[in-house]
């Protein structure tokens, strides 16, 4: 598939205006990490090339290049997948475990939460679990109620594990490389609908990193701060562009790391604009936005011009019917509406 040939071909030689995708960036990040460190290994369902190199092709080419001992397809057994990753990490490896879809983490929560996130602490620092858990989610394909949940708040609430969610190819590369090198468990949330979107540019080189815990100001602005991550960071950028046409200057912050989140960048921007909108696809109630809104409201008490607003997914399972699926999550239009309200 095109992303793979892209990855194979050095950007320099790439045919005319080169484009990249999040998928090709993830694939190159994995390839470069395997190159750089023989302790990096990977496992997951259908991960090796004989099984297609991952259902979306993120790991395509890895097993052919690095062997099926380092890149292993597994049975359908998420507890066993996570356990194998944890155990190998205790023995000095840096496993990258793929849980195909985020909803399937629900069968592996014990391994992730009771073990991966806690072993360093419970052992008094004698052991550690430097694993990466790659998982994917995202509505838009009519897969219904069990295939596109957004559970990041569960993990952000769990001491001992970090959570990242890239929205651009550069960040996908840089965050994944940093996650692999991090000494602790990191959950990398990939968004299916944004995998394939080609954007102009070339893939980062092997030294490129995005530090964990640092947000990106993707657009500077003075009137309103919009905080988001993953696919909706893109929708926020689009909404900000339309707002600009209406003379409203929006600062768009992509958290990139959800836990630990970048308080400093967010609070600085919020203090500057005094108007904050937080947007995610996850259910609004008890979602990631609640922690950020509560913190901003506490830290900037009396300094805000408007109450912090939150947009999130509907309070329901993800519906099947396209009509309902389209209505489920905020999009650029709904973000723009909220921006206009905040600006008024």
């Amino acid at each position: 598939m095109s992303t793979v040939t892209e990855t194979a071909a050095p950007p320099a030689k790439a045919p005319k205006a080169p484009t990249v995708t999040i998928l090709s960036a993830l694939n190159k990040a994995l390839t470069d990490a395997f190159e750089a460190d023989p302790k990096v290994i990977a496992l997951g369902e259908d991960l090796a090339d004989k099984e297609g190199g991952g259902i979306a092709g993120v790991t395509r080419g890895l097993s052919t290049r690095f062997g099926t001992q380092r890149v292993r397809s597994t049975p359908i057994a998420e507890q066993a997948i996570m356990g194998a990753a944890i155990g190998a990490s205790l023995a000095g490896y840096k496993p990258i475990a793929e849980i195909m879809l985020m909803n399937f983490t629900t069968v592996a929560m014990d391994m992730i939460v009771n073990h991966a996130a806690k072993l360093r602490f419970m052992s008094g620092g004698q052991t550690s679990v430097p694993i990466v858990i790659r998982t994917m989610t995202g509505l838009g394909f009519g897969s219904g109620g069990q295939h596109c949940d957004y559970l990041e708040a569960w993990f952000a609430h769990t001491p001992g594990i970090k959570v990242v969610a890239p929205s651009t190819p550069e960040d996908a590369y840089g965050l994944l490389r940093s996650a692999i090198e991090d000494p602790d468990p990191v959950l990398v949330i990939e968004n299916l609908p944004t995998y394939f979107a080609s954007v102009p540019g070339t893939l980062p080189d092997t030294n490129y990193r995005v530090p964990l815990g640092k947000a990106a100001i993707q657009r500077e602005g003075t009137d309103i701060t919009v905080v988001s991550y993953s696919r909706l960071a893109g929708e926020a950028r689009a909404a900000a562009a339309s707002a600009a046409e209406r003379g409203i200057s929006v600062e768009v912050i992509d958290l990139r790391t959800i836990a630990p989140w970048d308080r400093e960048t967010v609070l600085t921007s919020a203090a500057k604009t005094g108007r904050v909108l937080i947007v995610h696809e996850a259910v609004r109630q008890f979602g990631v936005g609640a922690e950020i809104a509560a913190t901003i409201s506490e830290e900037l008490f009396g300094q805000l011009k408007k109450p912090v607003k939150r947009l999130g997914g509907a309070f329901s399972p993800v519906p099947y019917s396209k009509t309902l699926e389209n209505a489920y999550a905020p999009d650029a239009a709904r973000i723009l509406d909220a921006i206009l309200q905040l600006a008024s």
Binding site: E45, K50, E51, P75, I76, A77, P319, Y320, S321, K322
Partner: protein, 328 residues
Amino acid sequence: MQTSFQPDATKLLDIYRRVALLHANDERARKVILSGKIAMVYYSYRGQEIIPAAMSAALRDDDQICTIYRGIHDMLAKGFPLDTLWAELAGKSTGSCKGKGGPMHLTYPEKGIMVTTGIVGSSMPIANGLGWAAQLDGSDRVAVATFGDGASNIGAFHESLNMAAVWKLPVIFLCQNNRFAEHTTYEAATSARQIADRALGYSIPGVRVDGNDPVAMYAVAAEAVARARAGEGPTLIEAMTFRFMGHNFGDDDSYIPKEEKKAAIEADPVPIFRAKLIADGIATETELAAIEAEIESQIDAAVQFALDSPVPDTNELRKDVFAEEIAA
């Protein structure tokens, strides 16, 4: 195998009616998707029709099933009405789930179609609860959990079979072994020589059967149902089969060895079953053609009904989350 479980001519014709329906509906579903009239995630069961047709022929309407994303064959065989099925596939308000569930969560309790899950393995623990309820009701109805070969490697399989065995639940664990789990072969993921071997670990009967042979499949299914009705507990059935169309619609099945696929398709159980019915004088070409024509027109009507039906109102997002509607 007791001969009493051998299907007679009437039963075989009953099974064929279901097979013909399943076969025609799968062919149609893929046509409709290609036509662009209805977009959906679709997991073709083409090649596996005999298994649910024979299984359902051994069941009553009040028997219940829990099936999976690749389960439309299980549901049609159990009696899911075509119109509301197609409307649900189309995401319309006239769908059995009002368009909220879709192909992976089709539900129709009137015919005992209680749960369709998109989570590998999760049909089994829930089927146990249906079986427990039957025990509590003092009813001899049974529950069937269908799942694939890959699902036999996940924890829920083990917990479910153990609990069903200890509680002697009237549950039939029907594994449709099509030799692949997504792109992974049976051998690459499954350590058991045959999945039926795992029954020993639960002290229950485990039977491997040619799921493409209607007579053998019916006999095994009927015997398992009889045991369950008699309060003798669960049975693990491993029905051997093959999926002709890959894992899901659009799957380039390059990972399937060409010969393996060719051989399987040459052994397509549907035409073979059809020919045998005629050869054995159970039905004439004309009779079967009539059945098939009837089915085609029913499907025509159902697809049209789906296309003509309205989409759900967005306030449906606030309904059925809880019994009480959520305030806007």
